[in-house]
Amino acid sequence: MASKPKAAKGEGRAKASRKKTSAKAKSLANDDIGEETRLKLWRSLLEIRHVEQRAYDLFLQNLIKGTSHLALGHEAVAAGFATAMEKDDWTFCTYRGHHHTLARGASMEGVLGELMGRECGLLQGKGGSMHLTSVEHGAMGSYAIIGAHLPIAMGAAWTSQYKSTGQVSVCFFGDGTTNIGAFHEALNMAAVWKLPVVFVCENNLYMEYTPIGDVTAVENPAGDRAGSYGLPKIVIDGNDADEVYRTAQEAYAKARAGDGPSLIECLTYRHSGHSRADPGDYRPPGELEAWLKKDPVPRYRDRLADFGIDKKVIDGIDEKVMQQVEEATEISKASPTPSLELIEKDVWADGGVAWRN
């Protein structure tokens, strides 16, 4: 049985600012997020949506040959958390990490080129879809071993605490990760040392192909474990970019104030299978359709319209992003495959490769 998503509301942390107001009453004048940030969120949602769709198309055209795990449906989690970050904060994510890398500002051709194994890729074709990294944008790696990056993100948080830099580390992972030891090791140590790290569980209801509820002792795989580490249970609607953004702001403020980590469970859904080889047939009929009604992208389009933002502005951003995707695709297609000399580069910090003297 697939676990049914709960009502998408922050549990146990009701706040006045979270109260739903009717769409009609919305006004930018009273809005805590504001037009500028809302349009940033909108752009970020679209960048992820269109690049992921393009990645899917390029895979059908056999131009992307490697494994890839798309985040179609998860856009609001990435857009919300990244938009609320400072430029020098750090992001750590899993092999499903295109969205987080893009949301930090890595270029589209850097991402698509890497997926295509081209020289213009973020890693010059040496890492592929599962290892997207852009240190200059604070995207500190995508990790393909479940759980590995939770302690690593905590280590980066250790560094910012050690140096008193105020930087926050944000670590994204799936619901399946909550059952591996590293999750618990990292949560415990981060809580003991009050490290400035925010752990974000993207609960898309499936660990690979298995409903998470079938293999997890509690209903909310992350939220229900928070209490074990002295943290409040936070479960939010991960398809609502505003709710994600506001939750992120609170967690970052807590981390920067020296009050330690947060564990946030975002309920969301992946629109495609686990990886490119997976059609997702195990999902019960109607589940995908129900979640598509909560698709974070059209939902945010409606939200902007409710706030009275001009349709031309909304559509204009969409068109501009689509144009960027086209350009990035062309750049990637035109980029050569990596130079063969690269095989012997960067095993060691001096750029070398020797295994004997």
Binding site: K126, V135, G155, M189, A277, I343, G352, V353, W355, R356
Partner: protein, 463 residues
């Protein structure tokens, strides 16, 4: 211009599949996103969506076709105003489409630098030669030398900190970190919970973000819990990220057998780590090398596996009395000169090799003993130069024989010293069994000086 619809790959390993069904027929309008066909593989059935718009002008591969090659043209999409007759002119067929092949695929692979034997040659410049030390020396135990190395580096570099189980208040399970908490405080000397995966990952993340952690494993037996971080995160990231993220870390602690602690606490991991590109592996014997190499390891921008030995901790050696003195990583040391046979060893086995050399000298065999000190990058040159002189070699290690350091040395001899060898390479290793507990069995399982003597005599054909 018409557009070819190609047989897609549903997974990176798929080379062919069945075209189960067409959802469109010739002449149908197709919009981007429409499901046009179903493809079957042994793993899954997937729907193929149209990427482009147009009219399905021609179905090249009919439904029900099996074993259709990936990239074969399965259909042709016509744009507005195009005539189906145009398709003939382009003479398409259901063969792999050249446009989709990766541009670099046909380029010849670069030739690897090899010598006459076909062995891959190192491309790195040799490490700088070790400085001769002419100043005064002090007598220190290995334990004290390691502590002094950490203290000196922590004094000179604020980014260095020590973390591990019992390293702070208890001052180390083997008392290696004595006095460090008092001098540097709990910000820089940190007791962790028992969570090897967790604190090793923390060290890696701290290094990615700019610090220089020294992570102590109470013993390397427990580091198997952290193997994922040591290999996947510490060793591989600099390469995978195209040099964006390096990992300046030292992972240190006792390795190998101690005494009567049985199989799970008595294993030599030297060859495990030496196998991994991206890790330096250091295993000193003397207190001077322990100090000089640990200082180099802490300063090095690469992840270093620093293998100590519990039995050696209490042994005393002369150590140069100079905080600026270091020993370069990657350089072996001839610790006893000789002309009849070369004996290579590292860590505690250097003591056994030296004892064996004394015994051999009384039997008229003049052995040269090389302390390898670093196992990756291994100092091939020093070993080969010695064998050119002695024409015989015995490799000694505390680890198991299969795929061990001795196996690597044997391969080096084949590649670089074959013409100088007067006898096959001999290996002295632990018995190929989990280490037993009882004293007599434990003694039997580990290499002894007498084993080294016997191996040396065998390669000298004096038995």
């Amino acid at each position: 211009m018409s557009i070819d619809i190609l047989m897609p790959a549903l997974s990176p390993t798929m080379t062919e599949g069945n075209l189960a069904k067409w959802h469109k027929k010739e002449g149908d309008n197709v919009s981007s996103g429409d499901v046009i066909a179903e493809i079957e593989t042994d793993k899954a059935t997937m729907e193929v969506e149209a990427v482009d718009e147009g009219v399905l002008g021609k179905i090249v591969v009919s439904e029900g076709s099996e074993n259709v090659q990936v990239n074969a043209v399965i259909g042709v999409l016509l744009e507005d105003g195009e005539d189906p007759e145009d398709i003939k002119a382009s003479a398409r067929s259901a063969v792999a489409h050249p446009d989709a092949a990766e541009a670099g695929q046909e380029a010849p692979a670069p030739e690897k630098t090899t010598d006459a034997s076909g062995a891959v040659q190192p491309t790195r410049e040799p490490v700088v030669a070790e400085k001769e030390f002419s100043g005064s020396a002090v007598k220190l135990t290995v334990r004290e030398a390691l502590r002094d190395a950490m203290a000196e580096e922590m004094r000179s570099d604020e980014a260095v900190f020590l973390m591990g189980e019992e390293v702070a208040q208890y001052q180390g399970a083997y008392k290696v970190s004595q006095g460090l908490l008092d001098e540097f405080g709990d910000r820089r000397v940190i007791d962790t919970p028992i969570t090897e995966h967790g604190f090793t990952g923390l060290g890696v993340g701290a290094a990615f973000a700019g610090l220089k952690p020294v992570v102590e494993f109470m013993t390397f037996n427990f580091a198997m819990q952290a193997m994922d971080h040591l290999i996947n995160s510490a060793a591989k990231t600099n390469y995978m990220s195209g040099g964006q993220m390096g990992c300046p870390t030292v992972f240190r602690g006792p390795n190998g057998a101690a005494a009567r602690v049985a199989a799970q606490h008595s294993q030599c991991y030297a060859s495990w780590y030496a196998h991994v590109p991206g890790l330096y592996v250091v295993a000193p014997y003397s207190a001077g090398d322990a100090k000089g190499l640990l200082k180099s390891a802490i300063r090095d921008p690469n992840p270093v596996i620093f293998l100590e030995n519990e039995i050696l901790y209490g042994q005393s050696f002369d150590v140069p009395d100079d905080p600026d003195w270091t020993v370069p990583i990657g350089k072996a040391k001839v610790v006893r000169e000789g002309s009849d046979v070369t004996i290579t060893a590292f860590s505690i086995m250097v003591g056994h090799a030296l004892a064996a050399a004394e015994e051999l000298s009384q039997q008229g065999i003049d052995a040269e003993v090389i302390d390898l000190r670093t196992l990756r990058p291994l100092d091939t040159e020093s070993i080969v130069n010695s064998v050119k002189k002695t024409n015989r070699i015995v490799s000694v290690e505390e680890g198991w024989p299969v795929a061990g350091i001795g196996s690597e040395i044997a391969a080096i001899m084949m590649e670089h010293a074959f013409d100088w060898l007067d006898a096959p390479v001999a290996r002295v290793c632990a018995a190929d069994v989990p280490l037993p507990y009882a004293a007599n069995l434990e003694k039997l399982a580990l290499p002894r000086p007498a084993d080294v003597v016997n191996a040396a005599k065998a390669v000298c054909y004096t038995d």
